[in-house]
Symmetry: C2
Subunit: 300 residues, 2 copies
């Protein structure tokens, strides 16, 4: 099944465009998760607690969210047990019916991009049998190396009904320096948007959206309508609300292409209330509030 159609059915069924970002810090976990740490080394203890933390949040948030975005850095820093925890957390998200998004931001020469596609979306043949990859439903990808660096990831994703979100305009302040760079010509983010539109052209689902989407930060709302125009069929993954100060009400142009044409991702503003109280219900309430605001802006 086409990735965009999968996203569309999850969004419509759950009436939610919310993707919760999980970037667990082992020093700030739910107390109930920290108590479940098991193992012989700091890495094992921390990784088992991190996995439990993710599982508790996924369970609490599944009814109000469309997906989960895992920040790979936060698992890689826990060494091999961290990678195992990431696999467990992706599996938990999928079991809960959520879109599992690997926020990897990988970008490399074609030969290496194919290896990342095996790691995140596919599998790796070896003389000892196939090694399964992460099994993500979608990945984020960095386009600095150009079209040939994205193609192996797009084609692996497409073959498995998964999706790719290409960085077009990120939400950090430093993004302006490179991505909005224009000199006399159009800014780089416009060129990246054209590339996204082009890469998705052969992956359009029945819902009219494509399996190649784009990351577009909500922090520069004046850019959104123009980028939507250049990528009329892309699902936009929208970071920058909440802790980073972006405003959901600026998102109306995103949803001209339908209710699944935008996924709002937030991490700290959803998870922190639960960390403060120790009760995952507070994360669900924060996600529910963002869900209602977004659903209303989407006019669905």
């Amino acid at each position: 099944m086409n990735f965009a159609d999968r996203v569309n059915s999850v969004v419509v069924e759950r009436r939610s465009q919310i993707v919760v970002g999980l970037d667990p810090d082992p020093a700030a976990l739910l107390p109930a998760a920290a108590a479940e740490a098991r193992g012989d080394s700091p890495a094992q203890l921390a990784a088992t607690a991190v996995l439990h933390h993710c599982e508790l949040l996924i369970e609490a948030l599944a009814p109000v969210c469309a997906g989960v975005k895992f920040q790979l850095a936060c698992f890689e820093r826990l060494s091999a047990p961290g990678w195992a925890a990431l696999e467990g957390a992706v599996a938990a998200a999928r079991r809960a019916g959520l879109i599992a998004l690997a926020d990897a931001k990988r970008g490399d020469v074609p030969h290496t991009a194919a290896a990342y596609a095996q790691a995140l979306l596919g599998h790796t043949p070896t003389p000892w049998g196939n090694v399964g990859g992460l099994g993500a439903d979608a990945v984020t990808a960095n386009p600095l190396l150009g079209r040939d660096s994205l193609e192996p990831i797009v084609s692996a994703a497409r073959a498995g009904g998964a999706g790719v979100f290409v960085l077009v305009r990120t939400s950090n302040p430093g993004a302006a320096e490179i991505q909005d760079r224009s000199d006399a010509g159009p800014p780089l983010h416009d060129r990246l948007a054209e590339l996204v539109d082009d890469l998705g052209a052969e992956g359009i689902g029945a819902c009219g959206l494509a399996d190649v989407g784009a990351v577009v930060g909500v922090t520069e709302p004046q850019l959104i309508a123009g980028l939507r125009e250049k990528m009329p069929r892309a699902i936009l993954l929208l970071p920058g609300v909440g802790a980073q100060g972006g405003d959901v009400s600026a998102l109306a142009p995103v949803f001209s292409a339908g209710p699944a044409a935008g996924l709002v991702t937030a991490a700290r503003s959803i998870v922190d209330p639960a960390l403060e109280s120790g009760d995952v219900v507070d994360a669900r309430n924060a996600a529910q509030s963002l869900r209602e605001q977004t659903w209303s802006v989407a006019g669905s």
Copy 2:
């Protein structure tokens, strides 16, 4: 000790600017390494064989090389055992006195960039004790997200005497589309080169080179002199010779800043001869030939 000074002393002592790229494919390992596969799962079997493959090549190549560049994708695709193999291979390179370079090409918002720095260069504090990171001597980083995405990686590297190589002009054909993009103004790679020069300004060693370098492909030799001019103190990591067709003789301008001002990285052209014969001596011979060519072009 400043990273550039460390590189300088390795290069001068070994009379080599060669960094061998290791991007192991479990389906194409040295037969002696494949025979050492151990474990209960395809991932464990493949990862132990991959580690042994790396160890054999590192042992054979240490006398003629300055460093080893590990392609992270090739380890991540072997799941948690792959990450453990990567740690073992980095440790083997360091034991052999080589600069261990994690070719990660990470680039993310500042909060996440700091987590990648913990994973690759530092450690992660947890309630169960510190979790050590990969312990690389240097990492590659993607600058698409701008200065604030690079700063956490540069400052973690600098604090530990490690280095960062920022992608300025990669060696794949698709790089032209984005990195050489200029419209009416200067191309993006020039802006990235200025950013590299600036980030390195506070990390200049006694040898006159900086701890922030740049990846510059050898595949477009006409760009090299101009980029060197914009980054007079950067160590350039130079992919694209050998299998990708780049020519070492074009590298003279690189070495205007000294013998350690350029590191030539090659993977397949060094490793493939050993895979064909089954004898690591053939990898050493290929590296030795590239070492002599480069040393002579560097005029050292």
